[in-house]
Symmetry: C2
Subunit: 343 residues, 2 copies
């Protein structure tokens, strides 16, 4: 498969001054909406207009399994990935509950679940293979598998009928895979990248650390595509593609927690302008997330101690994007208010 | 007027264990929704049920003027209060734009605007007087005015047809009034309570500090009702009443920024159980807010650098309350998921 990534154009910064002036003219004290004003500015730049609109928001939940889980890197067995996919499709997971509140459309993509999933109208079958290989022993994915996952993700991100594509994931063991990718791409020490994931006692964390150290010792890969192949995670690779695809079509990429941030980090290493389109929904409780957010100069919107994944944090942040856009489009100017003619 | 505050019953903590067990049994790693789980627990306790429902949310924006503004405590003239009220009624202020996104009903109450407002179907006329007196020179309100404002607020909070009453305010000069109330009720030094408000240069801040020092030097009041009378703000007093009224009828009190937190502080000093019903929406950029939040052991949901008021932060937090309730009512148990029978 030939890797033919779409071009992602940096946002046009010439609009920034007019956006700032428009925000400053609104009926509120200067700068009094803090982070929300910076978000409004970014939305205007992404859409290239002074009146950005956030209509449809979708969350794409990419699911995949990890051969590395054989080393005990998670407190849960890989079978939980398929069970959670079934729960999303029944509309009974946390992401569904939150998406119902914030009017976000939930899509589920099988990027590489290690099970034969029952077909369902809301499930996209994009399975590249049944789980990645055990990265502690061999490369998790081949170059061709990485390319396929990436290009499928590009397609899903590009074709999404929404102004905002929120990224979510499910994959037992995927914080270990993400930690390895972060370790090489940031770069940072493995100690700074490995956290408790879905939950570990001391023995579990030691197992996880030993497994990622074994995987890390096996390869010196540093280039993004090589790193993705070595330490893989089909859902992570497909997420990276989705970020590129969404950004290439001028959509906002709403990034959830640790795993999706690492996927987006890979996307940015492949196509740096992807960064311009990213809004980081929240600061996860997972160790390593704050460090990678800092390295991306990212200012997360929420800080609620979430560490669930599924896109839950991104879905919760969606109303803030809509509110920021409305600030530009719906709020009177201070001059109108003071003239007693806000109508 | 006789002050006959309704009884606010503390929440019944016997339900806490069952709520925690229900949250722990949900299809997610233990504790992985962080702050949202604590919010869900609180909502269950407030409603006294394992399946709390957050249906209607309203924001009540109380408006009033301050005689103290004659001392130059704000960068804006008092006439802006009435102009902003007109803007709320036209649906063109920030609170309206955000409330449209988060499906919150906006109500506007004239607690004491220093102008003859044109009547409007969405404006509640509860004007006690045209602005408070200049607290730097004399008590801002009489005991009778405090009682009237408080009891009107109680009525509005109690009669609100909503599960959540979000509190908002508009009143040029009211950070100065709030700082004085905080100074006496917390207590804390005036330096810790006085901030930039809607915006000040060094000279403006010095004027504000001189005015609040003059007001503070005039009276040794410490009892809540006396403090409210001395340093007043009819919208602040009415907000305190609204918190008591909403809590007395088992509703969630969703607190916005600095001013409303100070009003709620007064309410809690009058009726300590009000605290059980309070959810603090955000940490304001206004100096003093973090200190009073800490003193109330409050854990704000958002931290976006907002310092606007109007209830904007509370309105933005509304979806988080709905999501937290849905966690208890809509999400499958982990045992169902693992049994492969989440349906």
């Amino acid at each position: 498969m030939i890797l033919n990534l779409p071009v992602v154009a940096p946002v046009d910064l010439t609009l920034a001054e007019a956006l700032r002036a428009k925000l400053d003219g609104k009926a509120k004290p200067l700068g009094s909406l803090g982070r929300l004003e910076r978000l409004a500015l970014q939305l205007g730049l992404i859409q290239g207009r002074l009146d950005p609109r956030i209509g449809g928001v979708c969350v794409q939940v990419y699911a995949g399994d990890h051969g590395l889980n054989a080393e005990g890197v998670s407190a849960y067995p890989s079978a939980v990935t398929a069970a959670m996919v079934a729960t999303y499709l029944m509309g009974r997971a946390c992401v569904n509950a939150f998406a119902a509140v914030t009017e976000v459309e939930v899509g589920v993509i099988d990027a590489g679940v290690d099970a034969d999933l029952v077909s369902h109208p809301d499930l996209i079958d994009a399975k590249v293979r049944k789980g990645s290989r055990n990265a502690a022993r061999e490369p998790a994915l081949t170059a061709a598998e990485v390319a396929e996952a990436l290009m499928r993700g590009v397609q899903f991100g590009a074709e999404a009928r929404a102004d905002v594509v929120a990224l979510g994931e499910m994959g037992i063991g995927n914080t270990a895979s993400a930690a390895l990718i972060m370790h090489r791409l940031l770069p940072a020490s493995l100690e700074d990248c490995v956290g408790l994931g879905a939950g570990h006692d001391a023995a579990g964390l030691a197992r996880k650390m030993a497994a990622v150290q074994a995987a890390g010792a096996r390869s010196l890969a540093k280039a993004p595509l090589d790193v993705l192949a070595e330490f893989g995670g089909l859902e992570i690779v497909m997420l990276a593609g989705a970020a590129i695809g969404a950004a290439s079509t001028g959509k906002v990429v709403l990034v959830d927690g640790f795993i999706t941030t690492i996927a987006v980090l890979a996307a940015i290493r492949l196509q740096p302008a992807v960064r311009d389109y990213c809004v980081f929904a929240h600061a996860s409780a997972e160790r390593g997330h704050r460090l990678v957010l800092e390295s991306l100069d990212a200012e997360p919107l929420l800080d609620l101690g979430l560490r669930l994944g599924e896109g839950t944090g991104a879905v919760l942040a969606a109303p803030l994007l809509r509110a920021a856009a409305r600030l530009l489009t719906d709020v009177a100017d201070l001059s109108e208010v003071l003239a007693g003619s806000a109508g």
